[in-house]
Symmetry: C2
Subunit: 248 residues, 2 copies
């Protein structure tokens, strides 16, 4: 039901189960991504030519991050049983990354819970729960806004699986807005790893997002990650391209 190719971001469309309607996937395949990437590079290279139409601005595909967890092998086995393996629900847009079939329930200190929180793989060397502020308010916790992996002072949560549970004192963050860029496109945009930039989504709820962290790696495909609060504020779903406005 879910092709391996296409815009395989983690979507909120069908009741937060992370599935994407097939017709959406079919209209946004790898060829289209290549065309967009080519267009981005061409537009940047042409940017000195003021005779070009104003509409030729650089766009980057959007990935909307619903709440999700990253787990270590130890924690995963504690929750799903010794020897359990992460199973692929579908491949994500970034090469080698997957949404797993396995999901967990997270419980905050006020004992409020969110069910069906998907594990994203592969397994990592730290446990991390990424939430929106809306999720945090629902759970009654106060996680900091952080880069992925920066967990000092992160909020505590219990993560429950079918075979066990774990209480993690520092695991929950609201992830920084960030953009994945291969080196060539980052150079053309005039940004480098660790910079912050602005991006814009137009429409009735047009919004400019500031402080978007630039992350550069040649293994990545260009993609901007916003959380569900950001995406819902701007009234967009996954099949959106975001305008790169410039460095902060």
């Amino acid at each position: 039901m879910f092709p391996n190719k296409g815009i395989a971001s983690y979507c909120q469309e069908c009741g937060r189960c992370n599935a994407i309607p097939v017709d959406t996937l079919e209209t946004f395949d790898d060829n289209l991504v290549e065309i967009i990437v080519d267009e981005v590079i061409k537009t940047i290279c042409d940017s000195g030519d003021r005779k070009k139409p104003v509409s030729k601005v650089p766009f980057i595909p959007l990935g909307v991050s619903n709440h999700h967890v990253h787990l270590t092998k130890d924690t995963f086995e504690k929750l799903f049983g010794t020897g359990a393996e992460l199973e692929t629900f579908r491949e994500l847009y970034q090469p080698g990354e997957i949404a797993a079939k396995q999901m967990v329930t997270i419980v905050g200190s006020k004992m409020r819970a969110i069910q069906n929180v998907r594990i994203l793989g592969p397994l990592r060397n730290y446990d991390q729960v990424e939430l929106s502020l809306t999720d945090a308010i629902q759970l009654g916790i106060n996680p900091p806004i952080r880069n992925s992996g920066d967990l000092k002072g992160a909020a505590p949560l219990t993560i429950a699986g079918p075979e066990g549970s774990i209480y993690l004192k520092e695991c929950a963050i609201i992830a920084n807005r960030h953009v994945h860029l291969p080196g060539k496109i980052a150079n053309n945009f005039g940004v480098q790893d660790g910079d912050f930039c602005k991006v814009r989504i137009s429409g009735k709820k047009g919004t400019i997002f500031e402080n978007v962290l630039v992350r550069v790696n040649d293994a990545w495909r260009p993609q901007i990650h916003l959380d569900t609060d950001d995406a819902n504020a701007a009234d967009v779903r996954c099949e959106t391209n975001v305008e790169f406005v410039g460095k902060m």
Copy 2:
């Protein structure tokens, strides 16, 4: 427990029950509002003087709109019984407007529900449910983004009260971002009723909101209304002031 004065916007802080912590209210009283209003006017009047510090930008208090309903007298009596009266839970920031003690449950076409949705008074001559996109996704409905009162093509919902319920074919909207301004401040900002403007919230999740509808009425106090998706995207709660960036 809830003073009548102070920043009496409808808040999401305590599990979406619309109550505001007293300590928040006590730090943001009418005097402070007056100081801010005076500062806005002074700053606008001084705006030609480039020697002024850059930080002297015009700010307007933020009101975060949680989901809520407006009802006609007929609908209110259908839900709460003939002769029922709207009771004041607390006064809102705009003179004469109240959050009522009475709440309803709303149910979408997929039979998903949101409970404890507060009625805002006074009663009106139309029934309207204002939601965020997050609420709409939770309900499984697709309301349009609209100005208050513009209900042609609005989404259907059932509204249930303790004494009855009603199915409304066109009632649910995602309210346009909008700013309430008295005429004098609107003039100083260089905007008039029906214009659209941009506003900015700074911080780690700094955000510029476009297409904010300007509504002018001398009976109003200056206030920007954003929904919970907008506020959560920018990581702000009620006790925030928003920078007026300019006309669209």
